[in-house]
């Protein structure tokens, strides 16, 4: 195992162990220190999220041990859920553009994908894309605003655009996006909304309209 592979593995799972991990730790002090730092960071994360749970436990009256244990589990889960729900939601623009920026390779794709690959992404929501708007060169189901949404890249004659079908997100009118060198628009759709993001503002509204009209949202 080399340093790159080691750091990929421990970056995703700092608690990972095994013969190959331990062998690399012995060989490379810098990587061993890196893993230790990540483990320490996880402990900090755990403590940061547990603060409120601890406060609630302190004001809970004493009960039999088994009841206290059950209560602490319920409180822990409830606080975790409450923390989760109360986490600040980034703005629509940041979420959409952030997702596009995280996958720069998607916008750069040029080869049309197979019709079945497109169907695999759209069918779960009963959506279809009418032909004629351009070649679809990327299709995936991605996590945006806590929901799994279809993410397409369509190569129009004016250039590639990213299309996100946001069934969960209603907007009352067009929302303009411009961040990190990307521009786009979120349009109200028959089911939620649709985000169209490109690199160039010129012609974007026309492309957005074409893409919008090409989407069949189903029933």
């Amino acid at each position: 195992m080399n340093c790159l592979e080691f750091r990929r593995r421990v970056g995703a799972e700092p608690s990972v162990s095994g013969d190959d991990i331990e062998a690399h730790r012995r060989e490379c002090a810098a990587c061993a220190r890196h893993q230790d730092e990540l483990r320490a960071m996880d402990a900090l994360i755990g403590r940061a999220l547990a603060v409120d749970a601890e406060r609630i436990r302190k004001i809970t009256p004493r009960r039999p041990r088994w009841l206290a244990l059950a209560a602490s589990i319920v409180i822990g889960l409830s606080v975790g859920l409450a923390l989760w729900i109360s986490l600040p939601r980034p703005s629509l623009a940041r979420e959409v553009i952030g997702h596009v920026a995280d996958e720069p390779g998607a916008m750069g794709s040029t080869a049309p994908i197979l019709p079945q690959a497109l169907a695999d992404v759209l069918d779960p929501d009963g959506t279809k894309l009418r032909p004629g708007v351009g070649n679809v060169t990327f299709a995936a189901r991605c996590f945006v605003e806590g929901r799994i949404v279809p993410h397409l890249v369509v190569r129009t004659p004016q250039g590639p655009v990213t299309v996100l079908l946001l069934r969960h997100r209603n907007v009352s009118g067009p929302v303009r996006l411009a961040e990190q060198g990307y521009v786009g628009v979120v349009l109200p759709a028959p089911r939620g909304s649709i985000a169209i993001v490109g690199r160039d503002q010129k012609g974007l509204d026309g492309i957005a309209q074409q893409v919008f009209e090409a989407v069949d949202w189903g029933n």
Partner: protein
Amino acid sequence: MREALFRLSDEYREPLVLQVMMGYTTQEIADQMGLQRGAVLTRLFRARARLRQELRLDAEPSP
């Protein structure tokens, strides 16, 4: 740390919280989020990389 955590986008924060706070395995997170395990590993890696970056930036004194 909490603020840095909250600045992460949901797609990175959710698997991290599930792993660190709830003790889910990467496969369980993948099942929960409807993702391939590889995508979960990528998100966890990126989430930690961003947190490390944020915390380092936070620690730097103001000019």
